[in-house]
Each structure stands twice: as structure tokens, then as C-alpha cells.
Symmetry: C2
Subunit: 323 residues, 2 copies
């Protein structure tokens, strides 16, 4: 797993994934009391950075593998990324999703051409059970973060950050990344190690689901003790990945945990100041930039806001409370 | 007024205005039954394309003029654009705004460093009366659309559209533009005439405020008969400009009028499908692309969504009704 794999993924993705903009607002700088840039991956195809990893993995398959089709487990954003990438490549996709995932994510995944298989997470059914008939039939599993091609795809975000920061005259910065299993954080960390060595990745999570923060602090993969569901549904993985953690242990700074309240305030500020729609799990990095300045060291922060797939009713409630 | 002025404005703006992305979604293509691209000017600095015109005009001032300061009349977006541009140039700005403009626009204009002078539009006071002490003192008036430097600045949007469409392999398209006085439409029309001659500008307005549509149809500047306020507050100018209309009469196709209901549905779809915040007046072009296909001729439509400065309470209501 190295920079060459990320640059190869960037070549495969070119012209397909969007080079999302690096946004900013003097109003956000004022709140943070430092310079804040926002990498707007909610504007990526399918509304999250997951399209990059999905495209990277599907485009790397052999023709034989493509004929088998692909399968993915996902609470939503990885599902949409894989579904859209598979559909564009003419590859059949099955997505195994918890039945309690947000309706908008289930609907979108189906509309993107995938077959959706729901499993009863609350009732104790495992996603592996639901997937078994398909994996037995030979479909290729695309893991959401413990997959080198997926990490390489997410890492293309880091290549763009290095370029876009240089265009702004920025060399040193902390790059705050919303972390579930750590695929995006690890990919960006590898890209920055090669292209912008004065930048450091800082993983950001919701309080109570901060397994990455704890694992980085203890030096070993540690699970959180919280239930499987919560406001920031996109990033509530139980523990860091086996591929991603060693990369982040080597390259990332300390993790940061934010409250749900801070995530929602960040959503309202992204609405007002950037005209950008963020889902709660996609806003925790911005929340860390705005409200956890005491945990930051550099004058410049780049918050990677990772997704915008949020139910309208929840977003309306956030605006009414925090707008 | 020609392409050279627009290219000169592009040079002055380079590195200051954002090259906003050209977004798309298969879900929007399905609704429109044609290819739809969305030029996302809500992501411009100050939340609307008006920053381009403001920067173009302020950056073109002589040093003597800069020392006098600038003054602008605006219901909001032009105000913010001029305020931000003046502040960045170290030029004093006075903005004359109707007292009933959205609170967020008044607050933002002040926060961007301008002095705001409110006038009682409903009570019959004229903005000219409110502005008189400042213009008498020699401040330079920057008009929102009937100003060659402003039109040239807005026209830089058209240069980017021509480039970005070419990157997508698009040559022929109808370019739908939200129209108030017509500064953006005219600037884009001039840019496309030179750079993408197979593209045609179509002005888009709310029903009842479609003075541009009527004027293009009759061939002469004609005012609408509606009151001064309405949902799409950003674009409710009474009639086309004296500089902008001849350009659009020569270059634009027929105008399109949409209902307020369609504008709000387009806002909800931009939220769901593009993760983009639009104000009502910034969404009428997208509404035309999605719901007025019978008025369109080309297979490809580029909707210029012009602004995202909307009160959170209104946006929440739109999501609850149309999301």
C-alpha cells in the first residue's frame, strides 16, 4: 500500500470522479480563530467520497471478476459509491444494507441500479448471513475500508488537497477527516506523506464512537462500547480497520471527538456560510475545526467534509434548532 | 461591451473568485428527460455570482476613485459581492438596502465590512434619497447590472461554462440563467458568443416578474406590473437594463417563466441530488430545466444556479413541503 497505488487510482478515476472544490468563508475563520478550508466531498458523485473508492475498486477488477459481479456491505454511502461505479462499468452489484438505514440511502442505492438486500441488524441477523448466497455464487466482495484499492481511491482526495492547498499558498496544515473504519483517513495520510509532508491527518469522530481516537492513543486496535446506531450513522464502525490502522498509527496525529450537538451546529454553519449540505457524519471534521481549536496546533486547518446524504426532515430540524 | 472586457475581468478576478463546479446527477437527468448540468454559483464567495461583478468593478477603479469609496443599491446579493470586493481592496463601501430585505443578507453585508443604510421601500422612500448624502460626497456608484465592468465580471461565468462544457464533450446546449436586470445573462451571452457559439442563453424568471421574457418577446424594454416583493427576492427587478437588454435581444432565445412552487421543488431537488443550497431566485433556472422541457430545444441544458443566501427557516419549510 503506497503512493503509487493512489496515483494509479487517480488515473483510473480521472474524468469520472469530480475534483471537488476547496471552500472557505471569513465567517468560519472568525469562529475557528484560524484559517479553515473545507474540502467538499458531499459534492462528489453519489453525495460522498465513497464514489472514489468504489470506482477505484471496480475499475481494477479483471474481466472475469467483472462478470461475477460485486457485493458490498454498507449503511449507505459505500453502497451508493459501489452501485454507481458498478453500473457505469456494466457490472452487476448487490448491496447488503441494514433495514434501519436512512430511507434516502436505500432508495438511492436501488435507483443507481443495484440489488439491495436488507438484513435485520437490530434483530441480530448478520450481514454475512444475508450476503452468503451471493458470495457463494462468486460475487466479489468490495469492503468499505479494509481494501487496498478502496483506500487508494479515497487517497485521491489527498492528492487533490495537496494541489489545492498549494494553489492557496498553504504548505503546513492539519487535515481533519471524518473517520469510520479509516479508509479515507489512511488514503489521505499516504497521499500527504508523499505530496505535502508538512500536513498531518487528524481523525474526527462522534463522542462515544471514537474508536479511532482511542486506538491511536493506546497504539492498538480498540473497539468502542456504544450501540450500533446514532446521529452520525455514516461513520459508526465499531473499530479501525486492519489495513487502515497501521497506516494511521504511523502517520496521523491524535484523534478528535465531537458531540452530536457540535456536528449539527457545523451542519447549520456549512448551510449558511458555504451553501453546502452535510450529513451529521460528514460534518464532524468541520465541527472539530470550529469548536476544538484547543486540540489543534497549526494556523491552517483543512476539514474534509465527507458526505451530504441526509434525510430532509432531519436537516430541516437542524436548521430550525441551530440555523 | 465585448469579449475583451470579459477576458480582462477574468484576469483581474483570477485567484480571487472561485471557479465553481459544474454538477450533475442522473436523478435530475431522469426528471428533465435530457442531460442537465448545474453551474453552482451559490458556491461562489458571498454565496452568489455577484462577487464576480463586484470584484470586476472595484478592481477596475482608479486610485482616486478607490479613495472616494463605493456605494451600491441592492436587496442583498449585489450588496455582499460589492462589500466583500471593496473590503479586500481596502475600499470603503456603503450599501443602500430595503429595510425588508432578508435579515441574513443585511447581517452578512455588515459583517463583510460595509456600512449599511436602510430605506423604507414599502413606505415609498426611494433608495436614491437614502443614498444622496453619500453620492454627493463623491462615492462611486456600482450599479447591479447596468455597468459594463459588472457585466464583464458576471461574464466570466460564461468563460468557465464554455471550458467546463468542453471538458464534458458538450458543444451545443441551452444555458438557462436566472434573470433580474440581466447582467449575468448578458455577460454569459457575450462570453458564449465568442467561446461556445452553439450555446444559447435563455433567461429564467418567476411568473408575474417575467419582464425579461416579455421584453424579449416584444423586442423592447417592458416592465412587469407586479409588486416589489415576492419569494424570489433576489431577481425581482422591474425591467431589463438599458445595457443588458440590447445584448440579450441580439443573442438570447425566448425567456422562460416558472412558478414559485416549481422554484421550491427545484430547491429541494438541489438539496437531495446535488447537496447544494439554493435560494428561490437562484433556483428558477434549475426549475426551468426540470419542469419546462417543452420550452427547450437542445438535448443538453446547463442551468446557472445563481445564489444560496436563503433564511434557514424558509429553507426548512421548503424541505418539509417538497423534500
Amino acid at each position: 500500500m503506497n503512493i503509487d497505488m493512489i496515483e494509479a487510482a487517480a488515473l483510473r478515476i480521472k474524468g469520472h470522479a469530480r475534483r471537488t472544490p476547496l471552500l472557505s468563508s471569513p465567517f468560519l475563520d472568525d469562529i475557528a480563530q484560524r484559517r479553515v478550508f473545507v474540502k467538499a466531498e458531499a459534492l462528489q458523485h453519489t453525495g460522498s467520497f465513497k464514489f472514489r473508492g468504489g470506482w477505484s475498486a471496480v475499475s481494477a477488477l479483471t474481466e472475469d471478476q467483472r462478470n461475477q459481479g460485486v457485493i458490498a456491505f454498507s449503511s449507505g454511502n459505500h453502497a451508493q459509491g459501489v452501485a454507481a461505479a458498478a453500473s457505469a462499468h456494466g457490472v452487476k452489484a448487490v448491496i447488503v444494507m441494514p433495514a434501519d438505514a436512512p430511507a434516502v440511502k436505500i432508495d438511492n442505492t436501488r435507483a443507481l441500479g443495484a440489488q439491495v438486500v436488507l438484513y435485520d441488524r437490530a434483530g441480530g441477523e448478520s450481514r454475512e448471513e444475508a450476503a452468503e448466497p451471493f458470495t457463494k455464487a462468486g460475487m466479489i466482495l468490495i469492503r468499505p475500508y479494509d481494501d487496498e484499492y478502496v483506500i487508494a481511491g479515497q487517497g485521491t482526495t489527498g492528492l487533490e488537497i495537496a494541489e489545492q492547498a498549494a494553489e492557496q499558498g498553504v504548505e503546513a496544515a492539519e487535515v481533519l477527516v471524518c473517520a469510520g473504519g479509516g479508509g479515507l483517513s489512511a488514503g489521505i495520510a499516504l497521499a500527504l506523506e508523499a505530496k505535502a509532508p508538512q500536513m498531518t491527518v487528524r481523525s474526527c469522530e462522534p463522542e462515544g464512537f471514537d474508536d479511532m481516537r482511542i486506538s491511536l492513543s493506546t497504539g492498538q486496535i480498540t473497539a468502542h462500547n456504544s450501540p450500533a446506531s446514532g446521529l452520525c450513522d455514516a461513520i459508526l464502525t465499531p473499530q479501525p480497520g486492519n489495513l487502515t490502522f497501521p497506516i494511521l498509527h504511523r502517520l496521523a496525529g491524535q484523534g478528535i471527538a465531537v458531540t452530536d450537538d457540535e456536528a449539527m451546529r457545523a451542519m447549520a454553519l456549512a448551510f449558511n456560510r458555504l451553501k453546502l449540505v452535510l450529513e451529521p457524519g460528514g460534518a464532524v471534521s468541520l465541527a472539530a475545526a470550529l469548536f476544538h481549536g484547543d486540540a489543534l496546533n497549526e494556523d491552517t486547518t483543512i476539514a474534509v467534509t465527507t458526505g451530504g446524504n441526509v434525510d430532509p426532515a432531519l436537516f430541516a430540524k437542524v436548521l430550525q434548532t441551530y440555523g
